[in-house]
C-alpha cells in the first residue's frame, strides 16, 4: 500500500511542475483539481484499517476539489470573459527552474525539520513543502485574479498533505484547512472576481493596483 502512496507523492510533485509550466488557464484549473483529488486519496492508503469516518471525509474532499471547485472556477473564467493565457510575470522556463529549486530546497528542509516519527511515506514532507512553494509561485508570478485563487488552492493541497504526514490520527487540522479552502474559493472568487469584472471589464491584478491607497508617481497630484 505504501508503494501506491509513494506513487501518489510522485504524481503530486509532477503536477507541481506541470502547474508551473502550463500556460492555459483551463489546464491549470484541471491540474490543480487533479492534484487535490489524488492528495485526497492519500489517507485511504497510508494506514491499515481505515475507519468509515475517514472514508466519508475523503469523499467530501474529492467532491469539493475534484468537482465543485473546478466547476466554479471554470464558470468564473467563462463568465468573466478571461482570455486563455495565464499571463505569467516571468517566463515558463524560469517558472520551472524556480519550481525545481523549490523542490530541492524542500528536500533539504525535509531532512532538517525536527518532525515526529509519524511520516511513514517517503518524500511526503518534501512533496508537501514543494507544493506549498509552487502555490506561492503561482500567487506571486501570475497576473490573473483566478490564478491567485488557484495559487491558494495549491497551497491548500500542500498544507493538506503536510497535515496528513503529521496528523493522520487527528484530522481536525486537516478539516480546518478544508474550511479555509471553501472560504477562499467561494468568497474571494465567487464574489470578488464577478464584481470586479463587472465594474472594470477585466480581472488583471496589475491594472487593479490603481485602486490601492498608494498612487504611483504618474497618476500625479496625490503623494
Amino acid at each position: 500500500m505504501t508503494t501506491l502512496a509513494e506513487l501518489i507523492i510522485v504524481a503530486v510533485i509532477l503536477l507541481n511542475l506541470s502547474l508551473a509550466a502550463s500556460g492555459s488557464l483551463a489546464t491549470c484549473i484541471r491540474l490543480a483539481a487533479a492534484q487535490g483529488v489524488i492528495a485526497a486519496l492519500l489517507p485511504l492508503l497510508a494506514g491499515h484499517g481505515v475507519p468509515s469516518g475517514t472514508i466519508v471525509f475523503c469523499c467530501a474532499v474529492i467532491l469539493l476539489k475534484g468537482a465543485i471547485f473546478p466547476w466554479l472556477l471554470t464558470r468564473a473564467r467563462v463568465k468573466a470573459n478571461v482570455s486563455r493565457d495565464a499571463e505569467p510575470v516571468i517566463g515558463y522556463p524560469a517558472s520551472i527552474i524556480l519550481c525545481l529549486g523549490a523542490f530541492a530546497a524542500s528536500s533539504w528542509l525535509g531532512t532538517r525539520l525536527p518532525l515526529p516519527e509519524t511520516a511513514r511515506v517517503a518524500w511526503i514532507v518534501p512533496a508537501s513543502l514543494s507544493t506549498i512553494f509552487t502555490g506561492f509561485l503561482l500567487l506571486t508570478t501570475r497576473g490573473k485574479a483566478i490564478t491567485q485563487v488557484l495559487g491558494y488552492l495549491v497551497i491548500e493541497n500542500g498544507i493538506y498533505i503536510f497535515g496528513l504526514a503529521l496528523f493522520v490520527e487527528q484530522p481536525l487540522m486537516v478539516e480546518m484547512a478544508i474550511l479555509l479552502d471553501v472560504f477562499v474559493a467561494v468568497f474571494v472568487m465567487g464574489i470578488t472576481i464577478f464584481h470586479i469584472s463587472r465594474e472594470f471589464d477585466h480581472i488583471d491584478t496589475a491594472e487593479l493596483s490603481q485602486l490601492g491607497d498608494w498612487y504611483p508617481k504618474q497618476s500625479g497630484g496625490e503623494k
Binding site: 510575470v89 528542509l109 532538517r112 525539520l113 506561492f136 500567487l139 506571486t140 508570478t141 501570475r142 497576473g143 491567485q148 491584478t205 496589475a206 487593479l208 493596483s209 490603481q210 490601492g212 498608494w214 504611483p216
Partner: protein, 651 residues
C-alpha cells in the same frame, strides 16, 4: 491593601456606569464624580495606614496573564504616590462637575467621565503593580484614557496636533519600557519585580538608560518634554490638574522603582539625573516666563518642578553611589516630598487657571486683566498656589526644596565627596526659584491685577461652588503641609528605605521643626501687620484710583503694563535659548503713526530638534517607497520571503 484594590474597582465600575449613562449628562457626571470621591476615600485608608505603620502588603490574584502574574504590592513608596493620586483626582472630580457643565449636550460627558475615572484607576494599577505585565497594562490604559481627555475638544486644530504629539510620545515611551522590562527579565525569565535578578555592569546601565528615556517621556524631562506644553493646555482644566499633578509623576515613580530594582547605582547615573534635572528646572521656568497662555505657562512650570524632583533623585543616586548617607536620604526624601507638594499646588493652579478660562473664555495673558475684582476667590487661590509654586514659606512648596537644599548644603564643605554636584544643584535651585517668582508675578499680575484689557474680560463670574470647594481643599492641604512638615518625615523615611538608609532624614526632622516654627512666626507677623493696617486705616474713607497709570494724564486699559513687557528684560537676556519670534516697530519720526508689536513664544525643541529629525526620517522612508508599489503579487512575495527566512533561521 484590599481596600486600595476595591477603590480601583469602584473607579472602573463608575467609569462603566457613566459611560452607560451617557445619554443623560447630569447623571453621568454625578456617577463619575461620586465614583471618584468614594474611591478616593476608600483608597486613602490603606494608603495612610501604610504610611503611618510601614509594611509591605501583597495580593496575588490566581488569574494568570500572558507571561505574567497579577501580583499587587502596596509599600510606603507606592503609598507616597497614591496619596496625591487619590486626593487630587477626588478634588478634580468635584471641580469637573461645575467645569464641564457648560459642555453638556455639546460633548460626550459620559465618555469624558469614564475616561477620567479610568485614568485614575490606571494610575492606581501602575502604582500597585509588582509585575511588568499589569504595570504596562496600567501604563497604557493611563496613556489611552488621558489621550481621550486631551482631545475632548477635537474640533480645534491645535488640540488635534497636541493629541497627535501626545500619542507619539506615549507610544515611544512605552516602547522603551518594553525594552527595559525585557532586559530586566532576560536573566531570570520572569517578569515579576520580585524575581528580577539584580543586573550588573553594562546591562544595568542599559536598563537605567531605557528607564530614563521611557519614564522621562512621561515625566517631561527636557528634551523629552515636547508633549507637555501642548497637551496640558488642550485638556479640560481639571484633567490638566490631574495630568500635571499626578500623571507625570508616574514617570518619577517608575524611575524610582527601577532604581530600587537595580540596587547599587553607578556614579554617572546620579550625574546624568542632576544634569537633566538642572536643565529641565532652569529651562522649564525660562520657557514658562516666555509663554503667553496661562495654562501653557503652568505646563512649563510643571517641567520645572519635575526638574527639581529629578535633581533631588540625582543627589540621592549620587549619595548612594559614593556612600554619603545624608546626601542620599535628603535627596530622595526631598524629591518625594516635592512630588506630593507639586501635586497639590499645581492642581490648585491649574484649577484656578481653569476658572479664569471658564469665566473669561480665554487664557491668553495679554487679553486678560483686572479679574481680581470680579473673581476674588479664584484670584486668592491663584496667588496662594503661586506662592507655593515659588517655594515661598510658609506654604508647602518650600518644604521639599528645603530638604534638597539641606542635603546639598551639608555636602559642600572642603572635605565633601560631592561638593560639585551639590553646588550645581544649589545654584540651579536658586536660579529656578528666582525665575519662578518672576514667571508667577507675570502670570498673576497680568491676569488679576490692573484693569480688564479686552471685552471678553468684562463680564466674568467667579467659579462655581464645587470648583471653590475643590480649590479650597487643595489650598488647605498646601498650608497644612507647609506647617506640619515634621510629621511627614517619618512616612518619607519609610518610603526611601529600599533606596537609602533613612536615619539622616529622620535627623532632618529637627530642621523641619524650625521650618514650621518659622512659618508660624511669619503668619503671626502677617496677621500683626494686617491688624496694624486695619487699626491705622480705621475711619479713613477708601480712595479709588487707577492701577498702573504710568504717569499718563488719561490712561486707558490698553496702556497697562503687559505680560510680555513685564518679562521682556529677562526673556531678551535668554533670547538665544528661548528664540521668541519678535517684531518691533522701528520708530524713525518724531510723530510715529500706528505701529504694531508682536512677540511669540515658540516650541524651540520641537522646531529645532524633533521637526528636522522627523523630516530626516521621512526622507529616509521615502527612499524605500519602491517597496510599496501596489502590486499584490509582490506583497505576497514579501510574506513568502519573510516566512522562508524565519523557517531557515529557526532550523
Amino acid at each position: 491593601m484590599l481596600l486600595a484594590v476595591v477603590s480601583a474597582g469602584i473607579l472602573v465600575f463608575s467609569a462603566a456606569l457613566s459611560l452607560s449613562l451617557g445619554r443623560d449628562p447630569q447623571k453621568a457626571s454625578a456617577a463619575g464624580a461620586a465614583g471618584a470621591v468614594i474611591a478616593a476615600i476608600i483608597g486613602l485608608i490603606p494608603t495612610v495606614k501604610i504610611l503611618l505603620y510601614p509594611a509591605i502588603e501583597t495580593i496575588s490574584f490566581p488569574c494568570s496573564l500572558p507571561t505574567g502574574s497579577f501580583t499587587l504590592v502596596l509599600d510606603p513608596l507606592s503609598a507616597i504616590f497614591l496619596l496625591p493620586v487619590f486626593i487630587l483626582t477626588a478634588a478634580a472630580a468635584l471641580y469637573g462637575l461645575d467645569y464641564l457643565k457648560p459642555m453638556a449636550g455639546k460633548k460626550p460627558l459620559g465618555t469624558a467621565w469614564a475616561m477620567f475615572n479610568l485614568l485614575s484607576a490606571a494610575m492606581v494599577l501602575v502604582l500597585l503593580s509588582a509585575d511588568a505585565v499589569p504595570f504596562l497594562m496600567g501604563w497604557e490604559t493611563m496613556a489611552a484614557a488621558s489621550f481621550a481627555l486631551v482631545v475632548l475638544e477635537h474640533e480645534k486644530p491645535q488640540v488635534r496636533k497636541a493629541g497627535l504629539i501626545y500619542l507619539v510620545a506615549g507610544g515611544s515611551g512605552a516602547l522603551f519600557l518594553l525594552f527595559m522590562f525585557s532586559l530586566l527579565a532576560s536573566p531570570s525569565g520572569s517578569v515579576a519585580f520580585s524575581s528580577f535578578l539584580r543586573p550588573t555592569g553594562a546591562l544595568a546601565s542599559a536598563v537605567f538608560i531605557c528607564a530614563v528615556l521611557g519614564f522621562g517621556l512621561k515625566a517631561g524631562f527636557i528634551p523629552l518634554h515636547i508633549w507637555l506644553p501642548e497637551a496640558h493646555p488642550a485638556a479640560p482644566s481639571h484633567v490638566s490638574a490631574v495630568m500635571s499633578g499626578v500623571m507625570i509623576k508616574m514617570g518619577i515613580y517608575g524611575l524610582l522603582r527601577v532604581l530600587v530594582i537595580l540596587g547599587a547605582p553607578k556614579e554617572w547615573w546620579g550625574w546624568l539625573l542632576i544634569v537633566i534635572g538642572a536643565v529641565s528646572a532652569v529651562a522649564g521656568v525660562l520657557f514658562a516666563l516666555a509663554q503667553h497662555d496661562l495654562k501653557r505657562l503652568l505646563a512649563w512650570s510643571s517641567i520645572e518642578n519635575v526638574g527639581i524632583i529629578t535633581m533631588g533623585i540625582g543627589l540621592g543616586v549620587l549619595g548612594q553611589a559614593r556612600s554619603i548617607p545624608s546626601l542620599a536620604a535628603l535627596g530622595y526624601g526631598g524629591a518625594l516630598l516635592h512630588v506630593i507638594n507639586h501635586a497639590f499646588f499645581k492642581g490648585l493652579l491649574f484649577m484656578s487657571a481653569g476658572s479664569v478660562l471658564h469665566a473669561a473664555g480665554t487664557a491668553e495673558l495679554e487679553a486678560l486683566g483686572g479679574l481680581l475684582k470680579k473673581m476674588p476667590f479664584t484670584a486668592f487661590f491663584f496667588f496662594f498656589g503661586s506662592a507655593a509654586a515659588c517655594a515661598l514659606p510658609p506654604l508647602n512648596g518650600f518644604t521639599g526644596e528645603f530638604l534638597i537644599y539641606l542635603g546639598a548644603f551639608n555636602n559642600i564643605g572642603p572635605s565633601s565627596k560631592a561638593a560639585l554636584p551639590a553646588l550645581i544643584v544649589i545654584t540651579s535651585l536658586a536660579a529656578t526659584g528666582a525665575l519662578a517668582v518672576a514667571a508667577f508675578a507675570k502670570a498673576g499680575g497680568s491676569v488679576f491685577l490692573g484693569e480688564p484689557r479686552a471685552d471678553s474680560a468684562e463680564g466674568p463670574h467667579d467659579a462655581g461652588t464645587m470648583m471653590k470647594v475643590a480649590m479650597a481643599a487643595l489650598a488647605m492641604l498646601c498650608a497644612i503641609i507647609g506647617l506640619c512638615s515634621p510629621f511627614l518625615i517619618k512616612p518619607l523615611a519609610a518610603a526611601i528605605t529600599p533606596l537609602a538608609v533613612s536615619y539622616p532624614l529622620l535627623d532632618a526632622g529637627v530642621n523641619m521643626l524650625y521650618v514650621s516654627a518659622g512659618a508660624l512666626t511669619l503668619i503671626a507677623l502677617i496677621l500683626c501687620v494686617w491688624a496694624l493696617r486695619s487699626a491705622l486705616s480705621r475711619g479713613l474713607p477708601p480712595v479709588r484710583g487707577v492701577t498702573w497709570d504710568c504717569g499718563y494724564a488719561a490712561p486707558t486699559a490698553r496702556m497697562q503694563y503687559g505680560a510680555s513687557a513685564f518679562t521682556q528684560p529677562l526673556t531678551d537676556f535668554f533670547q538665544p535659548l528661548l528664540r521668541k519670534a519678535r517684531s518691533y516697530p522701528a520708530i524713525a519720526e518724531y510723530f510715529p503713526g500706528t505701529a504694531s508689536f508682536s512677540t511669540e513664544a515658540r516650541a524651540v525643541f520641537y522646531n529645532h530638534l524633533y521637526s528636522p529629525a522627523g523630516a530626516q526620517i521621512k526622507r529616509l522612508a521615502f527612499r524605500y517607497t519602491w517597496l510599496q508599489h501596489g502590486r499584490l503579487q509582490f506583497y505576497i512575495l514579501y510574506i513568502v520571503i519573510a516566512l522562508i527566512a524565519l523557517l531557515v533561521w529557526k532550523l
